[in-house]
Subunit: 412 residues, 2 copies
């Protein structure tokens, strides 16, 4: 019974296209930063869609939106689908968005076919996944999982010193529901792959089985101001140069591990006073290394730390790692992963086991609930760019997999 | 007659110390940015001192302050002394300031001894020499010499988008005198060396005979935004990395020419969007090379341009030099330089011929008047830093040289 149901492809894709009109950035892309006017416009539309689909909508204190489709036993924890509707400053129309609107389409499809599940089904759109406006990223799902304090999140500042909490209130999404603190039966997130593997292999469904091991570093460089002109080279302690040396060295680490899929990124660099007439005495650099094999990621880490010492000596600056973080060792729940694999088999869809290379809200949620992810292809793996591209025909199979995996889990 | 006059050492030094109380930055230093409240306070004090010394004070449209001590023939062009009273954001108490207050002390000493000169003597404090707030540096002397249009200068913006002209009016120094357009008989600038040579040699007076050849570059790097995580190394076009490679390469050029006193500086770097989750697609870098020998500076330039190509290839970014400038080939007038040398000899002060490695207002003025400079020592050559240090005993000899050179020229 209901084994033959499918989503409505055109209806699903029309929501992606409608979303793509809100917060337009460079041609073809979106710049829908968290808690901006465009974010509000998208949220208003999403809430309306969810209510029209018969869901009860709740907003938590961090603005994450929960749409609930009741099951036959309201006392059971819900099966949750989710992702995010915010984008990078030069983002695409699919990253995060496809996952949220896939969840909406799953609910609509269940409605179409009058499917009653035993457990409630919830769909969530997490606030500020990207971290493009308020750092860190994935902050609302992190708070939901108990990783961050709610008040700390509300106090985050953007580059114009606007407060997360104030901006959330300004757009009308400072909800009253508590953040987390309740059991979830399971969490499923569909997301574009953000890598080239599925597109290259011509396979539409990735069954995410693990995350790349990611090791992140916040590095501080301390030099000394001095005149850019007469100061002899051997008396210079230019923090700009110290940070640049490290950025290049980190990039080199990435290239050394490129043959086995490793990456290393110098992502963000701030320099002070950073003026033409004076050598800078302070810089901070955010960088990370990523590898499918945690042991290799540890070796890459060691090479970055060696580079820190080498660049400090070469630039005559003090260079220190002042913060470190790690992710990618989150647990993908075998039962939930099995449901995704079973749904793909049931639907006759080719699926590929794959590792996730980016961070996702699902990583945080894995701490409090069984979690699994489905990847869908994006052209050439391009993402966080206005040229990010996904196609309906290659996305729909993954959404149908989500539909059947969630339905099966909710029937349990 | 008057061959034996000397400045009043303590009076001179007390003005330096008083100036050091206005716009205090890090301990020991100043952060007296152009057209700030501190700049106003210093200007008010300077104008009062000049009037107390019997001078007529005129402010030009760019806020440069001219104090005139009349000669016996008011129709003759003046002999001018000058420098600047603004500082870097982490500046010292001597850079520029010593030159202006040396000029004030010269006028006071002439007054003390009732010296009447044939030509008028003027003392000027140029607005915004440092360029630490409004770019470019030396903008008021440049306009005086016809290098920049006055209205263009008035329209310069600081980092907070405040307009030069508005800030000048705000502090009450938007004068009515035309900028330039009148003949000067000669221009003498006393300045701390901003290098370690005089301090190292134990010589108190540098006779500046030429400028280091400086070749400056504004370089633009164009890459592509992409996810910092999954994007394979060979698909990355991270503008941050392209710019960092070039910054390191420029620094390496400096080291290669370090044995012959060459310098190369990566001074200023801006990156966009410069956020942790996204590779940056744009960067700009300001860098320069300096050498005493113009032919060597040209070779260093060629190496920077080779590095631009090499870094572009290595980073897969487009890198282009979008602006270039040059200075240091300004003419130091033999007659004026001879007067400085003669004054030193007359005073029995050891003097060393020296090249200037930094830019100075005097460079611009050389285009419209015979120009010469006197250097005084600063400890270890440290400058553009709160640890910049000059001592009365090693500065006074240069001021007495200025006194006698200017007096002799004004008697002509």
């Amino acid at each position: 019974m209901h084994d033959a149901i499918r989503i409505n492809d055109e209806r699903f894709w029309s929501t992606i296209e409608r979303s793509g009109e809100i917060g337009v950035g460079r041609p073809g892309g979106l710049a829908r930063l968290a808690l901006s006017d465009a974010d509000r416009e998208m949220r208003d539309l999403f809430v309306r869609w969810c209510r029209e689909a018969g869901c009860e909508v709740t907003i938590d204190r961090l603005g994450s939106i929960f749409a609930r489709r009741e099951g036959t036993d309201a006392s059971l924890p819900p099966v949750v689908m989710g992702s995010h509707l915010d984008t990078q400053v030069n983002g695409g129309k699919y990253d995060g968005i496809v996952g949220v609107l896939a969840g909406l389409e799953v609910i609509r499809a269940l409605n179409d076919h009058d499917v009653c599940t035993r457990r409630p089904i919830e769909l969530v759109s997490w606030t500020n996944e990207e971290g493009a406006r308020f750092s860190p990223p994935m902050v609302a799902s992190g708070a939901f999982a108990g990783v961050y304090e709610v008040d700390w999140v509300l106090g985050r500042l953007d580059d114009d010193d606007k407060r997360f909490g104030d901006e959330l209130a300004r757009i009308g999404y400072a909800g009253s529901a508590p953040v987390g603190g309740r059991p979830l039966d399971a969490y499923f997130e569909l997301h574009i792959e953000q890598g080239p593997i599925l597109d290259g292999e011509g396979i539409d469904v990735g069954v995410v089985v693990r995350g790349y091991a990611v090791r992140g570093f916040l590095v501080e460089v301390r030099g000394e101001t001095s005149h850019t002109g007469p100061t002899p080279m051997d008396k210079r302690r230019n923090a700009l140069v110290g940070a640049a040396m490290l950025a290049v060295a980190v990039n080199d680490v990435g290239w050394r591990y490129h043959p086995t899929g490793g990456k290393a990124t110098a992502a963000w660099l701030l320099i002070k006073p950073n003026q033409p007439g004076i050598l800078s005495d302070w810089a901070q650099l955010i960088c990370d290394v990523r590898h499918d094999d945690p042991a290799v990621a540890d070796r890459m880490t060691a090479e970055v730390l060696e580079a820190v010492s080498r660049c400090a000596e070469r630039s005559q600056c003090e260079i220190a790692v002042i913060d470190r973080w790690t992710f990618g060792n989150e647990r993908f729940d075998p039962e939930c992963v099995g449901r995704i694999r079973a749904a793909a088999q049931h639907l006759g869809v080719r699926a590929l086991d794959i590792a996730s290379q980016a961070g996702h809200d699902a990583y945080h949620i894995s701490k409090i609930a069984p979690m699994a992810m489905i990847f869908t292809p994006c052209r050439d793996g391009i993402t966080h760019n206005h040229r990010e591209q996904a196609e309906m025909g290659h996305t729909v199979p993954g959404v149908n997999v989500l539909l059947h995996a969630v339905r099966a889990r909710a029937m349990r």
